[in-house]
Symmetry: C2
Subunit: 129 residues, 2 copies
């Protein structure tokens, strides 16, 4: 099947879900090359919009995402990657999931999860990966 990369300027969103807990961990983007590498290597590789280049999740932190299954939606324009997440969390802010805040009706945000690691010890100066 054709994945609709052209809809998003060559990129499709890839939702990352913990295969065991069902927790949604993060969302990133993939182009055709990083999707192929994700599938062939068995570890998640994104295309970073901000850096404009391939970005292997865990390249600096060691917190890699081991692929269990890739799903594609009805429109073929969004991926769902079910993973085993290595390490205490995927978020550069020190949480298991990047979705650690609840958005209230007044658009304030409340932290509703606990930190699982100290990000400065894992990432040092570079705050990603």
């Amino acid at each position: 099947m054709d994945i609709a990369f052209e809809k998003g300027g060559g990129l499709v969103p890839a939702i990352i879900q913990d295969a065991q807990s069902g927790e949604v961990l993060m969302m990133g983007f993939m182009d055709t090359e990083t999707l192929a590498e994700t599938q062939s290597s068995g570890e998640v590789v994104f295309f970073s919009r901000s850096r404009g280049r391939r970005w292997k999740k865990g390249e600096s932190s060691g917190h890699v995402l081991k692929v269990r299954e890739v799903r594609v939606d009805c429109d073929a324009d969004t991926l769902l990657v079910r993973v085993d997440a290595v390490g205490p969390g995927v978020c550069h802010e020190g949480y298991r999931s990047c979705f650690y805040r609840r958005l209230e009706q007044d658009r304030t945000a409340s932290v509703v999860e606990r930190q699982t690691f100290a990000p400065e010890k894992v990432y040092g100066q570079e705050k990603r990966g």
Copy 2:
């Protein structure tokens, strides 16, 4: 907090997750107005990129998404909406989730979920909503 609508031309992706099962049901987009309406009404409203307008999920099918909680990610550019999904499924193809196909390494797709309703009976001619 400021949601980074400007990153996506006024829209942010909104991942829809079943609050009870943890299943990822679909992904849509919201602008500032449809996010506000989603939060105030308690039912999910998207901005449809293809139609270029507000799109209330369930407007034709009755399969509305009742909001339990809205989460926001570390970069404030992606939403996770945890919902109670009314009806047998959210997908216009007749499945509980839009992610009913597994993407194989050779990019063929395999249906790995069972249909939960007959879409032609729910949607008639119009295949969405």
